[in-house]
């Protein structure tokens, strides 16, 4: 993938999404820069997942433009589109591992789809991706149903990393994890982010994760997105944002991170 002229990797402009009469996004703007961890935050039903689906091209927005690496997915040929899709990795909220395949086969699925490689090579790459996310080698032979919640999240990350993307989308990567596993996942994410020079877009409700990992945060309020650094968010006068970042849970998370 060519380096874009500007350092913005994702540019969403004037995004409109509605279901019937219910408006989810109304002229939402969002920009993600290269090599940052961008957190997306919002109340339940504010359209975080809809935003993600719009960016990934899984949902056709009712208005506005979405550009990845300066390309609008709607204006691409099949070939270009497939190349664009290969340039990012996605993990879904519940892992979305294919339940009839082993973890190794799940990781190898995109590799098999796009390249022709002998089995030993595929096994080597599966091992590499398991190593990257810190799962023991014997996980390769297990089925998703045999994994714990934290392992499922890591295995999903391993699959998302298998095509060596530079851009990662994570949908609530730490939801449903105990605090220790969630903290371990935060560290893993920071580690991979620094080692592999990843750009990460992360939807999360987990304030600890937000304070620990994110460089900038986009909050979806009133069908728009307000983007700022965490320090900026803490000073925000918007009632919902103020409540979100100054509630009891937020204060605890902040204290923990800032010592």
């Amino acid at each position: 993938m060519q380096e874009p002229a500007s350092s913005s990797i994702i540019r969403v402009q004037g995004l409109v999404n509605r279901f019937g009469t219910q408006v989810v996004h109304d002229g939402l703007d969002m920009e993600v820069r290269s090599n940052e961890i961008f957190g997306v935050v919002g109340g339940s039903g504010s359209g975080k997942s809809v935003l993600l689906r719009s960016i990934l091209g899984l949902r056709r927005p009712d208005g506005g433009t979405v550009e990845l690496y300066g390309q609008d997915m709607r204006h691409l040929s099949r070939e270009q589109r497939s190349r664009l899709v290969r340039s990012y990795g996605v993990t879904f909220q519940n892992g979305a591992l294919i339940s009839s395949l082993t973890v190794a086969q799940n990781i190898q699925l995109p590799l098999r789809e796009y390249f022709s490689m002998p089995e030993e090579t595929l096994d080597g790459l599966a091992e590499l991706n398991l190593a990257l996310v810190g799962l023991p080698p014997d996980t390769a032979r297990k089925y998703p149903a045999q994994l714990s919640g934290g392992m499922v999240k890591r295995a999903a990350l391993a699959r998302a990393l298998s095509l060596e993307p530079k851009l990662l989308f994570l949908d609530e990567p730490t939801s449903g994890l105990d605090p220790i596993s969630a903290a371990a996942f935060d560290e893993l994410l920071l580690y991979l982010h620094s080692q592999l020079q990843l750009t990460v877009v992360m939807i999360t409700h987990d304030l600890d994760t937000l304070f620990r990992t994110c460089n900038r945060v986009g909050v979806i309020v009133d069908h728009h997105m307000v983007t700022d650094t965490l320090e900026g968010m803490l000073r925000s006068q918007h009632p919902w944002i103020h409540e979100y970042f100054h509630g009891a849970r937020a204060r605890a998370a902040e204290k923990e991170v800032n010592g």
Partner: protein, 382 residues
């Protein structure tokens, strides 16, 4: 141009990496790495300066191979001095150091990982036997729980879940009427047509009436209906309950103190026990209509002739001999479908497999039961 070129320069090895070293070239790179089998020791200089677009996967494969090659020398030359391999990377991707550390960690893990378990024919046979034993136990237990719930329902009629029952009678019975009627009609036309061809040779056309009415009423009406219902409702039961299992809905019911057998299984089985005999009556009627129509058009046997011959051919018990089987088939189909649904665990594949098993087994059970009925009725002259 080869992606790898290994040369000896003085007392150092020199490995030059050329061309595409991205993930896309992984297959070729792995092949070339496999062909690299010089035992290595001392110092190796790895020159990445001419490798284009180096990816993590190929770098990992290279580290793995170099590790193997130096390990080979260690084991073969264990007697001589202990020789390791020192690798110096020049111009490599920034991730190399990270991958190298990871590799060292993983090597320790691999050494510690447990060997695969014994998986012999004998072991397989043993596991299969245990599995079959558990299966029998499961079926008996399931039947027992249904009977217990049914027994409770006598004291507490609400346990029969009338609203759920009505819904399932509608779904398994009413909506099946068109397909059951059509198939019964067509099959009896086929039987009458074939029979007429053969019997006409003996001038015994009129016996087509005997053939059609007896076969439809005793066997085909109920058997066809049961097979159609097994395909439609047996699969629906298994899939519906299976998805509820996957979503932990059945566990939620149990946690609320509601017996899933009572709310999910019993209404479905009872609905089939009600619907299947009624569908059988419809299939019987349509079968007779089909036979009558073909006799009229093809053999010129008028309707009054057909009905009077029918009265002579049929014993008073013929109709009941067919109908009495319907509730038994209904219980078999309902139990197999719901049991397989309750067995679904863990994955979407299990759901598909058990739904298939439900249909195949319920059809098999219906036909087996029909054969037993045939023998029984012959013995008692029914």
């Amino acid at each position: 141009m080869n992606a790898l070129a290994l040369t000896r320069q003085g007392d150092e090895w020199h490995l030059a990496l050329n061309g595409d070293w991205s993930l896309a070239a992984m297959a070729t790179l792995d092949l070339e790495l496999g062909q690299l089998n010089t035992p290595l020791s001392g110092t190796l200089v790895c020159d990445w300066s001419r490798a284009a677009d180096p990816g993590i996967g190929p770098a990992w494969a290279l580290l793995t191979r170099l590790g193997d090659l130096s390990a080979d020398t260690d084991s073969s030359a264990a007697a001589s001095s202990k020789r390791g391999l020192r690798v110096v990377h020049i111009g490599g991707p920034s991730t190399l150091e990270f991958l190298r550390k990871l590799k060292v960690e993983r090597r320790a893990l691999h050494a510690a990982s447990a060997p695969p378990t014994l998986d012999s024919t004998l072991g397989g046979l043993g596991r299969w036997t245990l599995l079959q034993g558990a299966e029998v136990q499961g079926v008996v237990g399931f039947f027992g729980r249904i009977v217990v719930v049914l027994g409770e329902a006598f004291r507490r009629p609400r346990a029969l879940r009338p609203s759920s029952l009505v819904r399932h009678v509608y779904e398994t019975g009413i909506t099946a009427i068109p397909i059951v009627a059509l198939i019964a009609f067509l099959i009896s036309v086929i039987v009458a047509y074939l029979g007429a061809q053969q019997l006409a040779r003996f001038g015994a056309d009129i016996f087509v009436v005997d053939l059609v009415t007896i076969s439809v009423l005793r066997e085909m009406g109920v058997l066809l209906t049961a097979i159609i219902v097994a395909g439609r409702s047996g699969s629906a039961f298994a899939a519906e309950i299976g998805v509820m299992q996957l979503n932990e809905e059945t566990d939620a019911l149990r946690a609320m103190g509601i017996n899933p057998i009572e709310i999910l299984v019993l209404p479905r089985i009872l609905a089939l026990v009600i619907a299947l005999p009624l569908l059988t009556v419809i299939a019987d009627a349509m079968g007779l209509a089909g036979g009558g129509l073909l006799s009229l058009l093809n053999l010129h046997i008028s309707l009054p002739q057909f009905t009077s011959r029918m009265r002579e051919a049929l014993a008073p018990t013929t109709f009941w001999a067919g109908l009495i089987k319907a509730p038994v088939f209904a219980i078999l189909i309902g139990m197999v479908g719901t049991y397989r649904g309750m067995q679904v665990r863990e994955s979407a594949r299990e759901l598909g497999r058990l739904t298939t098993v439900a249909v195949v087994q319920s059809i098999f059970m219906v036909i087996l039961a029909d054969a037993l009925f045939a023998v029984l009725f012959m013995q008692i002259d029914f």
